[in-house]
């Protein structure tokens, strides 16, 4: 065990985890919107919208995140026509490619989480709102969404943690996130165990924080 290496690599890894957090928060925010949109589409009675939303979540939950990143980064990068369009400004950067892939992936899972949360709302609650003469739009925003969010908290917390670990795949498209920098340090010191233990510890700490924030929210919004 090379303790000195562990101590020396800690600040470098810590600053790299900022990139990890940036990737995570950006893709979670975008993913939440995508998830909400597709959850609503899933609940829609229109068969086309319903099937479209189902197909999306089926596609992104059924393929590995690594494959998705590779298709978006290397696959789209290989299409010559695409390189002449405005889209290339975004797709040229590995950072945006990673965020697109992560957002689409977490969006698919989030849509499933939210859909099942909406479906657990007892019809009696909605009927109670209706009988009080509340417009259905307000029932949706003020009653259904808050309940759905509370219901989905445990599962969504799980998704955040999975996504946090998923961001480590960003290093495969040249991003210097926590895993990327850990690999870089290993490439010059040839000591994987020490460096990965420190990197793993930082991931563990981040998971610990996420876990406790979700736990706090669950308690706060329990009824």
């Amino acid at each position: 065990m090379d303790i000195e290496l562990m101590v020396n690599s800690f600040p470098k890894l810590l600053s790299a985890s900022l990139i990890t957090l940036k990737l995570l928060s950006a893709s979670l925010i975008v993913g939440l919107f995508i998830g909400l949109l597709f959850a609503i589409l899933r609940l829609n009675k229109n068969i086309f919208m319903n099937k479209f939303a189902y197909g999306y979540s089926y596609l992104f939950r059924g393929t590995p995140l690594l494959v998705q990143i590779f298709i978006i980064y290397y696959g789209l990068g290989n299409i010559e026509y695409l390189r002449t369009t405005v889209l290339w400004v975004i797709l040229k950067e590995p950072y945006w490619c990673a965020i697109i892939a992560f957002s689409l992936n977490t969006g698919a899972y989030t849509s499933e989480i939210l859909r099942s949360a909406f479906q657990t709302i007892k019809p009696g609650i909605i009927e109670a709102g209706k009988s009080l003469g509340i417009p259905s739009k307000i029932i949706f925003y003020k009653i259904q969404i808050p309940i759905a969010i509370r219901q989905s908290l445990p599962a969504y917390g799980n998704e955040i943690i999975l996504m946090l670990k998923g961001t480590s795949l960003a290093s495969t498209v040249t991003l210097m996130d926590l895993t990327g920098v850990a690999k870089y340090i290993i490439s010059t010191t040839f000591k994987p165990i020490e460096v990965f233990i420190v990197a793993g510890g930082i991931y563990l700490f981040m998971t610990f924080v996420v876990h406790n924030v979700i736990k706090f929210l669950e308690k706060k919004y329990s009824y």
Partner: protein
């Protein structure tokens, strides 16, 4: 009835004992056989040094050379595949006994493992896509960085101003990455990839302004893919680029190191190395 039962039990136990014994025995024998074999690790993704054919079989200069060296050593060899970025850790952790993966002998790597004498050397070069502004830089054909002369220093200056703010792509944990990190060509935007294949892909897609690797790695890619990849600037050797490619061996494994050095001597004398090198590189890269 009871007697029959006991008899049956005895027979079953006997069969059990026999199978366990024979399985253990065969394991023991297999273990012994494997102990005699030298395991050599290679990447299988860096043509023409080492790569894989369509069926997934390892081929290339080093694969052929490895079998030749093992013949001189007089031991059987197996060649195993290992990702480049875990090559040296895997050797240290005894997943195999020797590295033959186009690995240049550098001072940095020698801190972790020892190297046999070099068996081949090959220059590095920058590559760009045809039509790039970096094409046709005004530099000498080749520079040696061990003791850079005036022309080499001037070439580095030309490169520094040409590459300022550009993205240069390299495979991770290579001499090429070390060179760019050393600051000899100023502050360039270095992007690292797990394999040379990925470097080539991103060079072709235009995400990299230039890429740095063994010159043959680019000519091999240009030939196979038909993409307009061209070499630019000087070829590099010496300094951060190391002193040729050798067999990487664990530091405590001095016995094996001696065997490989002797085998390389014999193979060089008999002309095997230059014959195999010419076959794979198209020129004599042996040393």
């Amino acid at each position: 009835m009871k007697y029959l039962f006991v008899k049956l039990k005895e027979r079953i136990m006997n069969i059990f004992k026999k199978t366990i014994f024979s399985v253990l025995f065969s394991l023991l024998v297999m273990g012994n056989v494997q102990a005699d074999k030298i395991k050599i690790g290679t990447e299988g993704a860096y043509p023409p040094w080492n790569s894989k054919d369509a069926s997934g079989k390892l081929i290339g200069f080093e694969v052929e050379l490895a079998y030749t060296l093992c013949r001189y050593i007089g031991q059987q060899c197996t060649i195993v595949e290992q990702d480049w970025d875990g090559m040296i850790p895997a050797l240290i952790m005894r997943k195999f006994d020797a590295i033959m993966a186009g690995m240049s002998i550098t001072a940095e790597r020698q801190k972790a493992i020892s190297f046999s004498q070099g068996y081949a050397d090959e220059v590095a070069s920058l590559a760009v896509m045809k039509g790039s502004s970096l094409e046709g830089l005004d530099t000498p054909a080749g520079i040696n960085l061990t003791k850079p002369d005036a022309a080499a220093k001037k070439a580095l200056k030309t490169l520094t101003s040409a590459l300022a703010g550009k993205t240069v792509c390299v495979q991770t944990a290579t001499i090429h990455q070390n060179f760019l990190d050393s600051g000899d060509v100023g502050k360039v935007n270095v992007r690292t990839y797990k394999t040379q294949d990925e470097v080539n892909l991103d060079l072709a897609s235009g995400r990299c302004d230039a890429a740095l690797a063994a010159a043959v790695a680019f000519s091999d890619y240009a030939e196979k893919s038909g993409k307009p990849v061209v070499l630019t600037g000087p070829t590099f050797s010496g300094g951060a680029f190391g002193n040729g490619v050798g067999v990487g061996i664990r530091k405590d494994d001095t016995e094996l190191l001696k065997k490989f050095n002797a085998a390389i001597n014999k193979a060089r004398k008999n002309g095997d190395i230059s014959r195999i090198a010419t076959k794979w590189f198209g020129f004599d890269a042996s040393m």
